[in-house]
Symmetry: C2
Subunit: 407 residues, 2 copies
């Protein structure tokens, strides 16, 4: 199929031309509505008119940034990487990603089951909703997706082949390189800095200790090809309810450092924790968030190690190369490094959200300016601390203990 | 052109069908002779019968390991990576790679200028020949090729595009993973262990400190995508005379850690140094080798940093992100890491050559068994020391000082 931008009208005949979609609906009487909440892409919900609970999500990438218009070109091939990563995730941990009914790389389209009973996690956390299964689900998701796409599990050729499927996603990697690791800490036209924290922002622009640490993290992001990452795993990329957890929006997928997805999630949990000093002032909810950070990391670590210990042969560790005692020692150092790196990336994610183009609603959405500025300052000081000190952290409790002592 | 294996007869009409080759010779009267010294490929010298000084080298990869026959399949696409890397090297530092007259990825063929007045460096070093320009040439080669294919120089997209050209070279990477980092240190059918050093080999197979350090080096080789590497840069991949230095045989090219090519070269120089305790017993030659290790590394480091300091803008360091003082501090840590990693990889290269399938002629070619075993033991103990202790090295002199104290 030749690429063509669809709209609410043309999308219906397009879908009806796909057997599996037609069988899903069992009728030709469909209605498409643009949801319109995507920054990058067009997203439609398509329903059977006579049975509106029969619904699918259709997402199409356009060759520009949807929110900014066609004056801001952005390669639509980003959808290719979302499709490929979704397919891999579906094989590895299907309970935590939407079912993909149909995908078309040439049309930059993916058709997925509609998640009717779930909301964006960030919105739930703004309302102080507890998600009791989140830590277990996402700890497992991180362990499965990171371990099973790495050279700790795959054969050498299989790992390089999978890497080859994502090495072309350079445009979205470059966005992260600019907007997470660079622009927020220098004079840059895209920054959006609250005038009430300009003093702190200026001090950071002159802080070489922070900048050299940030360069080291950016260097790892660019050159460390540990595993297939989601690449943008914040609480806005998770659809959730108290039972289920789904990861969406993986167009940033690429081979990068283990700690990046973990750090993104932890960083966003920490920002929610900060926001509730100003929003709900619900200390029980904040305590749940810190327990969740610990449980998320503990689940990831336990499951990742369990997968490793049950893998007799991989590209890295050939069967018979090393005995259990030696492997244990190697794993200990290895996991220690993932922990530190995760905390470093969490710090980068927190810092950039206070100064750069894309703030988080948890904090930027606080209406009262002084209150918002207090949250921004607190988050920024946490981010800076983590970026500068992640190499001295030895346990996830070092992070939560540091946070508990902040007040 | 459809792939077809050529021979001494069919190669002439093939070459005459290529305009640039025909113009080079200016005659149809050519004679091809197989050189027959390639382990992997067929290599021919083709001369004009009436002007035999007009000569080209033609190298064709076959879909198996040439030395072992078609029972040992090996993808002929390795030639694709040799061609691509040669073309990049020709752009970056044309004085130190053969001129490529013609290349054909579909035929797995490359046609290069013949280096009539140069020999394989390993053979020269066995005969204790001094190469006064080697350190300057190869230090520059390493600086140019490593710096200018990295994210310290290229834009983000350009670097990922170049990486994409080599990510498919998984078969040859897997050979290195097995034969450099794994098999020599475990029971493995491919090992070739001198019975006179079986005690040392056995002790190493039980040495977990060595094995965990080797896993860390192997992990970096597999997952660190710093720069385009030659991938097999030993003294057998260098054609040399006292004036000129040419790098050949880059079919192992891939994106890997900065220190790997540097370490391969240093490791091979150190093995030559070891061999001359038994071969020439020429202490002046050995002193030249150690001076060359220092000069090679110093040239690399000086030139790499000079290239970096003259680069105002790269994927990693955006113009205006950090001031000179901050960048200096970052560069110091960065270069320190390259030094240590290079010494670690040197240790891996030295160790594997004593135990694994591919020994070096410098040492394995020593005829008297006791003498050969002394050299093997000395080299192995050096390799082990470097693999275990590279993280404590702070200067290239730490390596040469350690060597000088060995006797």
């Amino acid at each position: 199929m030749v690429y063509d931008i669809l709209d609410e009208t043309t999308i219906v005949p397009y879908l009806l031309s796909i057997d599996i979609v037609q069988r899903f609906f069992g009728t030709n009487n469909l209605k498409a509505s643009e949801i319109g909440d995507g920054n990058l892409n067009y997203v439609y919900i398509v329903r059977a008119v006579d049975e509106p609970e029969k619904a699918l999500i259709v997402k199409q990438a356009v060759p520009y940034l949807r929110i900014a218009g066609d004056g801001y070109p952005l390669s639509r091939e980003r959808m290719t990487y979302e499709i490929r990563s979704l397919q891999i995730y579906n094989e590895l941990i299907s309970d935590n990603v939407p079912d993909v009914l149909y995908a078309d790389e040439a049309m930059s389209i993916v058709v997925m089951h509609y998640l009717a009973e779930h909301i964006i996690m960030r919105e739930g956390m703004i309302d102080a909703v507890v998600y009791p299964n989140f830590a277990a689900h996402m700890g497992e998701f991180l362990a499965q997706t990171l371990f099973k796409t790495s050279s700790l599990y795959l054969k050498s050729t299989a790992k390089r082949q999978m890497m080859g499927q994502f090495v072309g996603n350079s445009e979205l990697c470059a966005l992260t390189e600019t907007f997470v690791f660079t622009a927020p800490y220098m004079e840059h036209e895209t920054n959006e800095i609250d005038p009430l924290i300009e003093t702190e922002a200026k001090a950071l622009r002159e802080d070489n200790d922070f900048k050299t640490a940030m360069l080291a993290l950016k260097y790892r992001f660019m050159n460390q090809s540990d595993a297939l990452l989601h690449g943008d795993l914040h609480t806005g990329s998770i659809m959730i309810n108290t039972e289920e957890t789904f990861v969406i929006d993986s167009e940033f997928a690429f081979y990068g450092p283990f700690g990046f997805d973990i750090g993104a999630l932890i960083g966003n949990l920490v920002m929610s924790w900060v926001s509730h000093f100003e929003r709900s002032k619900d200390t029980a909810y904040q305590a749940w968030i810190l327990e969740t950070v610990i449980a998320l990391y503990a689940t990831f670590e336990t499951r990742f190690l369990a997968l490793w210990k049950s893998t007799e042969q991989s590209a890295l560790v050939e069967k018979g190369f090393i005995d259990a005692e030696g492997l244990n020692a190697y794993q200990k150092t290895f996991m220690h490094n993932i922990l530190q790196e995760s905390i470093g990336f969490a710090g980068a994610k927190i810092s950039r959200r206070q100064l750069g183009i894309a703030g988080v609603a948890d904090i930027r959405g606080i209406e009262e300016p002084e209150s918002r500025a207090r949250a921004e300052k607190m988050a920024l000081s946490i981010g800076i601390h983590l970026v500068k000190n992640y190499r001295s952290m030895t346990s996830i409790h070092d992070l939560t203990d540091y946070l508990k002592e902040m007040k």
